[in-house]
């Protein structure tokens, strides 16, 4: 009985993946643009309907995203995080594994970075050399921790057929709770009440080039773009990458060509978790400079799902999608400061984008009606 069931589950994923890659590249880009435009338009309508000024909403949104040098730095900072986390999601979704746990892997990765930096700092020379070494060690620790934490739901899916959407969401809650507990119980410096670790040494920071911002460095964006290139090359130019994508596209075909489906799922999750962990490392070093209660962190790991879906799960497509969402995020927070419109509206707009991206058929039918003269199906 068990064999037939896994087949059923696999066929289900096959079909889901098929539909996602059904669209041609141009069509996907068009759907992405249409979804974003429609979601923003609907957002403006909601703004107007709830008695706010829709024009002010849109101009503030744009102003917050690109209105000044510091706003651009903030947009790029959010974009760097969303691109990294988006690539993590894209690896998994491409391979037909719904890793919703990027947020948890990101939290665990950043925590591993923080532990590593705080532990090794007294043992290494101070100054730039020590800083670079600590950041490198921290990044490696983050990737190991993120990969290991993602292996868990991978193993549970591969060998116990546990639905990864649910296990990864549960592991998000658990990561957040356990990291909070460890910081509050063991890492909080004596005499303080906030659940924060000690600050990292001053020399552990990314260089301030181009933008003079305390929480954004072009190097962080560089790390994100390097990850994009590496993952894109890996997916399209290596045997293992090819196998992963084939499994996502058509599991039965991959199995016939000798790919072990269980191992593929675990490998996919580990790779995805490693990139998510790296995102955590960048977050800890570039943005925070210490570690804190994860429930107060931005939800990059969730927004990354929208980024990846908008990019049709293409690692390269994640770059423009990440820039767009970084801008939306920065603009949304700016709206919260400068207008009466509650900033949560932008989260809702993100939800609308995902909803529209989920239903490409909607646009195809609308497109047919509009351009082919409203003929019925």
């Amino acid at each position: 009985m068990s064999g037939a069931d896994t087949d059923g589950a696999r066929a289900f994923l096959d079909r889901a993946a098929d539909r996602m890659v059904d669209a041609t590249a141009i069509e996907r880009i068009a759907i992405g643009f249409a979804s974003t435009a429609l979601a923003l338009a609907l957002g403006s309508v909601i703004v107007a309907a709830t008695g706010y000024d829709a024009v002010e909403f849109v101009t503030s949104l744009v102003d917050g995203a690109v209105g000044s040098e510091s706003n651009i730095a903030f947009t790029l900072r959010q974009s760097s995080m969303l691109i990294l986390a988006g690539v993590a999601v894209a690896i998994a979704f491409r391979a037909g594994v719904f890793n919703i746990g990027v947020q948890g892997q990101f939290v665990v990765g950043g925590f591993a970075t923080s532990l590593t930096i705080l532990y090794f700092a007294p043992h290494l020379p101070e100054g730039t050399t020590g800083g670079v070494l600590l950041m490198a060690l921290g990044a490696i620790a983050a990737m190991l921790a993120g990969g290991a934490y993602a292996a868990l739901p991978g193993l549970m899916k591969a060998y116990a057929d546990a639905n990864e959407v649910i296990t990864t969401i549960m592991l998000n809650f658990i990561a957040s709770g356990v990291v909070y507990f460890l910081i509050d119980e063991y890492l909080r410096p004596a005499g303080t009440s906030a659940p924060n670790t000690e600050r990292f040494p001053e020399y552990v920071e990314l260089p301030r080039v181009v933008f003079d911002s305390p929480s954004f460095s072009v190097v962080g964006l560089g790390v994100a773009l390097a990850a994009v290139v590496l993952v894109a090359v890996f997916m399209s130019r290596t045997r293992l990458g090819y196998d992963l994508v084939t499994s996502g596209h058509q599991q039965s075909a991959a199995a016939y060509s000798g790919v072990d489906p269980g191992r593929t799922v675990v490998t996919t999750m580990v790779l995805s978790g490693m990139v998510a962990g790296l995102a955590g490392a960048v977050f800890a070093v570039m943005i925070l400079g210490y570690y804190s209660d994860p429930s107060t962190f931005p939800t990059f790991g969730f927004d990354a799902i929208a980024v990846s879906l908008l990019a049709a799960n293409s690692p390269v497509g994640v770059v423009p999608a990440g820039l767009l969402f970084g801008g939306l995020d920065a603009g949304g927070q700016y709206i919260g400061f400068t207008t009466d419109v509650p900033s949560e509206l932008v989260d809702g707009v993100v939800g609308l984008i995902v909803l529209f991206v989920a239903a490409p058929e909607l646009f195809r039918m609308a497109g047919k009606r509009a351009w082919l003269g409203g003929d019925r199906e």
Binding site: D5, R15, M20, M156, A160, D161, A162, T167
Partner: protein, 353 residues
């Protein structure tokens, strides 16, 4: 069915129960927890209350999935339900006057109807426009996380509502004085009682009526149902709308049925209960009564923290006991992961005309 047959068919269920019992015994021994003081009537009462919103969403989700649509958006519908229940009651009461029992019922009904309408949109997208069910379900969650707190801000100027009353208990004279059962069932929230009745009714409808057979056929063998002259998609619309309505009702039950208003901070007050509801019906093997019992298990996990505090176990901090329901979900899913899902889940059905 003999005991041996039953054991053979429910191997996983028994395995899970055994694992949980072992885990519990280890914890009890390590922390010297006074067990007798943990299991009190009050604990059972709180566990049943905690189980109620989860069970409502689980029973709805079960119907949708049985008919072939995986409504992964339960969490999102619950958030909307929690918000709209509180908002409905608040608006019904008017700006100045206090919220009365009648206003609360208006809120519950409003949340249920509004979520049913939202589920219509979800159903049209997934059934008619063949939207990817997992992605569309995630979208509902995102929409809830965004528009839930947004709407709260529009109404109350902050992401949470002010403190609101909840639905009064129904007290049956005389019977309420019966020890244990009296407090659990004859001095209880009508919503708790309704949910128990609903679980039984949902079982009867699913396994003993013609509509129930249609639901099962729509998920297992839609072609056969179509051949028999029943519109597969109409059955699926019905179950998906029902699942949205029940999740919304469950959310409203959480905020104003049993709770004290809407909280929109973080991942909102729903806090993963919609996801747990999905696991509850998987663990219950698509049986509404099983789903209710699984919800009760998760509900009691949720309440364990309060119990441990009352008996004075301080070694396990609250930040960890809070995680018990999530860990329980992982254990359950790993051991019962292979629950047989209906053959045609996730597959849009097209008639062959």
């Amino acid at each position: 069915m003999s005991v041996a047959d039953y054991a053979a068919r429910n191997r996983a269920g028994i395995g899970v129960s055994a694992a949980l019992v072992v885990l519990a015994v280890v914890l009890v021994l390590v922390y010297e927890i006074p067990v007798a003081e943990l299991v009190t009537v009050g604990a059972a009462e709180r566990a049943i209350q905690a189980a109620t919103p989860i069970a409502l969403a689980a029973i709805g989700g079960l119907y949708a999935e049985k008919s072939g649509v995986f409504n992964i958006g339960l969490e999102g519908f619950m958030i909307f339900g929690a918000l709209l229940g509180a908002a409905g009651a608040w608006i019904a009461a008017g700006e100045q006057s206090p919220v009365t029992q009648a206003d609360l019922w208006v809120g519950l009904v409003a949340a249920t109807v509004a979520c049913a309408l939202m589920a219509v949109v979800f159903a049209v997208l997934t059934i008619r426009y063949k939207a990817d069910q997992i992605v569309a379900g995630l979208a509902v969650w995102f929409l809830g996380l965004g528009f839930g707190p947004f709407t709260a801000s529009v109404i109350w100027g902050g992401v949470s509502s002010p403190s609101l009353p909840n639905i009064d208990n129904v007290v049956v004279p005389v019977l309420a004085d019966v020890p244990v059962l009296g407090r659990l069932f004859f001095d209880a929230s009508p919503l708790v009682l309704f949910t128990i009745v609903l679980a039984v009714a949902a079982w009867v409808v699913l396994f003993r009526t013609r509509f129930g057979y249609w639901v099962q056929a729509a998920g297992e063998n839609p072609e056969a149902l179509d051949t028999a002259g029943v519109d597969v998609n109409r059955v699926r619309y019905a179950t998906v709308i029902f699942s949205g309505a029940m999740a919304g009702f469950g959310g409203a039950t959480l905020s104003i049925g049993l709770g004290s208003g809407f909280t929109g901070t973080g991942v909102t007050m729903v806090d993963g209960r919609g996801w747990i509801a999905i696991v509850a019906y998987l663990f219950g093997n698509y049986n509404p009564i099983g789903a209710y019992l699984a919800s009760f298990l998760f509900g009691s996990m949720d309440m364990l923290q309060i119990q441990l505090q009352t008996v004075g176990v301080e070694e396990i901090p609250g930040s960890l006991t809070d995680l018990f329901p999530y860990v329980a979900v992982l254990v359950v899913l790993t051991l019962v992961g292979y629950t047989r899902m209906p053959a045609s889940v996730g597959e849009p059905y097209e008639t062959e005309e």
